[in-house]
Assembly symmetry: C2
């Protein structure tokens, strides 16, 4: 069976590295763009869900959000019906950066798909979604302490 894991790892690290370098111009430090886009697209989201979405540890998400708040990109608001959770919203400053993040993503996406036919790109996108669904199940399970046997 062809190995797709390493390719995915290499692509992801390269893309992340590029984004981190490019978003420094907008005063975002390493990794913050990951959180900020998702908060802009899902205003009112809570930390826990953010971590699940991005696939990072809960405590990493907590600290990333903390820093975004300290730098006024987002605010955390108490929920009227639930004392435990704190809903996260972009500030104006945060919202202003959103289009730049999307532009960057679109550009990288376009570069990534160079030389692929429309059909190949379509199959790729559909396949990746399936792969993500498959892997996220194992991730959640392993994160909770379950041991995989192989």
């Amino acid at each position: 069976m062809k190995d797709i894991l390493r390719e995915i790892g290499m692509i992801a690290r390269a893309l992340d590295s590029i984004s981190n370098i490019e978003f420094k111009a907008h005063d975002l430090t390493k990794g913050q763009y990951l959180y900020l886009v998702r908060i802009c697209e899902n205003p009112g989201i809570i930390q826990e869900k953010l971590a699940e979405m991005i696939k990072v540890d809960r405590t990493s998400a907590a600290r990333a959000v903390e820093k975004l708040e300290k730098n006024n990109f987002i605010v955390k608001e108490a929920d009227p019906d639930n004392k435990k959770i704190r809903r996260i919203f972009p500030t104006d400053k945060g919202s202003e950066i959103y289009p730049f993040i999307i532009k960057e993503h679109e550009y990288s996406n376009q570069i990534a798909l160079q030389g692929l036919s429309d059909q190949e790109a379509e199959i790729l996108a559909v396949a990746l979604e399936k792969v993500r669904n498959n892997i996220e199940k194992d991730w959640e399970s392993v994160k909770k302490g379950h041991k995989r046997v192989y």
Copy 2:
């Protein structure tokens, strides 16, 4: 155009997280498996090439290799013809772990590809290699300080 970047990022982080948790049983700390597999498969490789292959910063690779050496998974040897480089080789201890890394990778790969037809998986693998080639060019260029315009 369909966005494939986020899916790739999510998959990569989830896979990396799983691997890091699972390889702790073999005394490898975070990220070390990335280097060790490649050293086993390319004995005599130098740090610089490792970093390029894995797509991490040169200094990160340097420190990961340093730690692998300290823990006797690899050794660095002077090159007879070139005083600058130090060739990296797995020790017996390092080589012994290699099959476990491969087993884990194969298992994750198989999970990842569940529900994809052979044809879809084949197209996916080919497409990812193309994407990686596309992205690594930008990565190398951005890393060297070049600004992308978009």
